[in-house]
Structure formats: C-alpha cells, structure tokens
C-alpha cells in the first residue's frame, strides 16, 4: 500500500471503484460541504474536492477535504499548477498529508481567463506531469525537486486526469503513458459521451499494457437538460458530445430522468470495458443525484475495509 487510502484498497481488492465530486462553495461557509458529505456517504469510495475549478475562487480544496473527513468521508484533493509554484505545491502536499489527506489528483489547471479573476498572474512552474514526477519522488525517496531530503515523506496515493477527446487524439495514450512513468496510480478521464472514441483510446491503452499499471476511472457527467448537452458539445474545449446524445436529450419528455438513464447506461457499458477499473461521476452542481445513479447502476453496497 502506498497510502492505504480507501480508494487504494478498493482498487487493490480488484473491485470496481466509484468516485464522485463535491464542489467547494464560493464562500467561507462549510455547511454545503458537510451537507453533501452526509448525503453522499457510502455512495462512493472517495470524493474529489475541486481546486478552484475553472479558475473561480472557492473554499480551498485542502480545507474542504478536512471538513468532509470529519463526516467520515474520504477526499481526493485536486491540486493544480496554476496558482502555486514548486515551493507551494510541495508544501501543500506535506500539509495535506499531515492533515490525513491520502489521495491527491495532479492537474495542470484551467487557465485563469475562464474564471472570475481574469487579471490574475498565473504560475505554471510545473505542468501536471512534472507535478506527478515531483510528488512521486517526494513520497518514495523523500526527496524534494531541489534535492533536499525530508525526514518524514508524505504517504500519498497519486492520481491524474487524461482526456481521450482532446487533440492530437493519436498522442493521448502516449500522454497517459507519461503520467504512468511519472508516478500516477490512478487516472480519471474526461467525461465520456463518445463511447466508440473512448474504446479506441482504451484499445491503445491496453495495447501498451497501461491498464496493468494504472487504475482507470472512466468519467461520466449526468446531464439535466438538452441545453447542458449542447453547451458541452459547443462550448467546452476538449469535450465531444455526439449528435445522437444531444438529440436524445432534446426529444426526452423528462430531461432529468433521461439524463440519469443515459448516465446509468453509460456506467453499465463502461463496466464491461476491459481495463476500466471504476467510474468517476462528475455531477456538477447536481451532487444530490449521485446516490440514485450509483444505486441504479448496481454499484451498491460500496466495499468496506477494516481500518
């Protein structure tokens, strides 16, 4: 065991993992986090706390993690390279570990021009792959990127994200291989709507034997409306939503119900894709729906381990 997190135990036991997200609030009020933690407890193995997602200022991911841990829920903290240089990244990794956070997801981060502080100066001292490499060295050798060796290295389970739907498509499996080489233990993919394209990527991933080296969580997003489908299709760079999905949402009488059904179908299918070790449910601003989806997809009860 690298960190002994619940998520790591689920993967190591060979069971199909479920993760979801809890978006920290745009306020200093911990209540929404506590509320979601209570509501979602037992429906996923770990929960991502986003790190100022889309460059919008929110309650910090590490603080959010501590708040949900009080409710007995396991966090995965996201850590982007946008706002921290190597001093802050390494320091926050140590701090998070000291607070009991065992899963860290390394991300380059959304550019600040998408958020609510467009005049910000960005950092990008690292990208996500360098971040993984540095964190891996820190946890395995206790060695900082600058060479100094620490006495008590952090025990951290390291995650990454990868997007099979971003260009150049033919380089995307290579990029996952780089993340594996850099030290990633698990990978959350961008939300999958084009199943054929995802499977093509998985073919390449398996051909390189990467599925044996990293636990892949296939990303899904339940949609509330046809508008959401159209928005993701047209406005979100690096997302592919096929027309048949948009049409299906458009012609549905009960769009929310259809969105849930579609998401459950996607999960059922993803369970059969070789090399997929779990799903990551990104119910953006719709956290309440996660228990229903997990139940309908036959993913209950979640595994429990002696601590």
């Amino acid at each position: 065991m690298k960190a002994g997190s619940n998520l790591e135990k689920v993967f190591e036991s060979g069971q199909f993992a479920v993760t979801a997200e809890i978006g920290p609030p745009q306020s200093a009020n911990p209540e929404p986090l506590t509320h979601h933690a209570k509501m979602l407890k037992g429906y996923a193995d770990a929960f991502n706390l986003t790190d100022n997602q889309t460059a919008v200022v929110r309650l910090s991911s590490i603080a959010s993690a501590v708040i949900i841990m009080r409710e007995g829920v396991e966090p995965v903290i996201q850590m982007t390279c946008r706002d921290r240089n190597r001093i802050a990244l390494q320091s926050d990794l140590l701090g998070a570990a000291a607070l009991g956070v065992k899963n860290v997801l390394c991300l380059t981060g959304d550019h600040q021009t998408f958020g609510n502080e467009k005049g910000a100066k960005n950092v990008f001292d690292f990208d996500s792959i360098v971040e993984l490499q540095v964190f891996d060295q820190l946890r395995t050798q206790g060695k900082q990127v600058g060479g100094e060796v620490l006495k008590d290295p952090p025990k951290t389970y390291l995650g990454c994200a990868e997007n099979p739907f971003a260009t150049p498509y033919e380089y995307r499996a290579s990029r996952l291989a780089k993340k594996v080489a850099a030290g990633a233990d698990f990978c959350q993919t961008q939300a999958i709507f084009d199943m054929d394209m995802f499977e093509k990527w998985m073919d390449e991933v398996r051909a390189r034997g990467l599925d044996k080296k990293i636990h892949i969580l296939a990303g899904v997003i339940p949609m509330k409306s046809a508008g959401a489908a159209r928005y993701m299709k047209n406005k979100v760079p690096g997302m592919i939503v096929p027309d048949h999905i948009v049409d299906r949402m458009k012609s549905a009488k009960d769009a929310k119900g259809e969105g849930i059904k579609l998401c459950v179908e996607q999960i059922e299918h993803l369970k059969t894709v070789k090399g997929v070790h779990g799903v990551h449910i990104m119910a953006v601003a719709w956290e309440d729906i996660v228990p229903r989806i997990v139940e309908m997809a036959g993913l209950l009860p979640r595994p429990k381990f002696e601590s």
Partner: protein, 233 residues
C-alpha cells in the same frame, strides 16, 4: 524583434497635458518594423496630438524626431539638446528606449508612448505573434523548433492539456495549440520519441524569476586603458 503597440491617443494626451513643450522620439529599429514607433508613426502621432490640442483648446508645443536605436546611448546622445530643451519626452520606442533616455537624463521626464508587448515574429502584413519569452535556456531542439514556454498559454513542458480541441488553444480558439503543433512537427521529422518520455521540472533561474538579468562578456568589454582612449568614464 520586440513588438509594441501605441498607447491610445487619449491616454497619451492625458499624460502630456500638464506640459508646455513636448518632444516625441521614435526609433528606427524593431518598433519601426512593427509599425508602432518609427518615423511615420511619430509624424502621425504628432499631428494627431496637435489636432486634439486644437480641439481641446490646449496650448502645447509638440515636435517629433527619430533616432536609429533608442536603446543605445550613442544614438540618444545625438539629440540630447532637443531632449533637454523640452519639458517632457514621449518615447515611441519600446520600454528599453524610454528607460535608456530616463537613465541618461534622470532629472528629465520621459514617458512611454507605446505598450511593449513581446518578442514576436511578423506572420503576415499587420500580424505579429509571440514566439519567445526569453527564459534564458532554450529547449526548442527538443520540441520541433516550437517554443512551448512562449506559445502554450500554460507554458507546459509535457503538453498538450485536455483543452486542445481541433488543434486550437482553449484560451483563444484563433490560436494554434502549441503542443499540437509540436506533435505534428516532430511526427513530420520522425522524432516523436522526443515527447514519449517525461520532461522534468524546468530550472527557471535563468529567466526573470532568477532576478534581473545582466549579461557580461569579458572579451567584449573595454579595458580601463581603452575606455580612457575613447573618453568613456
């Protein structure tokens, strides 16, 4: 070259408003090539300011001139009398020219007429794009001759990020994704192996992050004896 853009007329007029005598100084180097601060642009700005002053009922004497390279003291020295005879100098060079004049005549006021933008390349008539940020440690032999530090919005060493769609940058859909371009170039050169392995953390100490940079070349410096001969103090 250094690519700059002229400040808006109103901003310039406002900066100069309190002064009676203004000298506008252009530069025949980079900023002339990028059509921001050469002889022609100085003439245009001087007449625009005159028209504006007339309309606003402001009395101000404005004249324009241009030097070969405003970042070099020797060229600036040639128009010293004209500079010192005015209340304020408006530099139409990049910030290097403006700072050279300022450093040479510290009591004299020198204001910037341009916003200095970037190290850029003229792509076509009227279009310039950024291709270098002067990080001080060039790696483009490993990236197909394309600089990811300058050309990727996130300066990624292991790109492209997940926002690369249709080979365009998520930050500006008009701009090519630098890493998609790197991939294509390396594929063309049959050198994709270069981006199969992880590029480790970059040492930024050679960039501005390492503090203000001063390059010195001992072999190019004048000896005290040579300095004396040339009258340099």
């Amino acid at each position: 070259m250094i690519v700059a853009k002229r400040k808006p007329l109103n901003e310039i007029a406002e900066m100069l408003a309190p002064y009676k005598k203004v000298t506008v100084i252009g530069c025949r180097s980079c900023v002339a090539i990028c059509l921001a601060g050469g002889e022609k642009e100085v003439k245009m700005l001087v007449s625009a300011l005159k028209v504006k002053n007339k309309r606003d009922g402001r009395k101000q004497h404005i004249e324009g001139t241009v030097v070969e390279r405003q970042c070099e003291k020797e060229w600036v020295q040639e128009i010293e009398a004209q500079i010192l005879d005015s209340d304020v100098t408006l530099s139409m060079a990049c910030s290097l020219g403006a700072q050279t004049i300022g450093d040479m005549y510290p009591k004299h006021l020198t204001f910037p007429g341009l916003n200095t933008g970037m190290f850029g390349v003229p792509e076509e008539q009227g279009v310039w794009s950024e291709k270098c940020v002067g990080c001080g440690n060039c790696i483009i032999h490993t990236t197909g001759g394309i600089c990811p530090i300058a050309r990727c919005a996130k300066s990624m060493l292991n790109g492209p990020c997940g926002g690369s769609a249709n080979r365009k940058c998520e930050v500006n859909l008009e701009v090519d994704c630098a890493w998609a371009a790197i991939y294509d170039r390396l594929k063309l050169q049959n050198r994709l192996d270069l981006i199969e392995s992880v590029t480790p953390a970059k040492d930024w100490s050679t960039s501005h992050s390492g503090g203000r940079r001063v390059f010195e070349r001992e072999d190019a410096k004048l000896t005290p004896h040579q300095k004396k001969g040339k009258g340099v103090t």
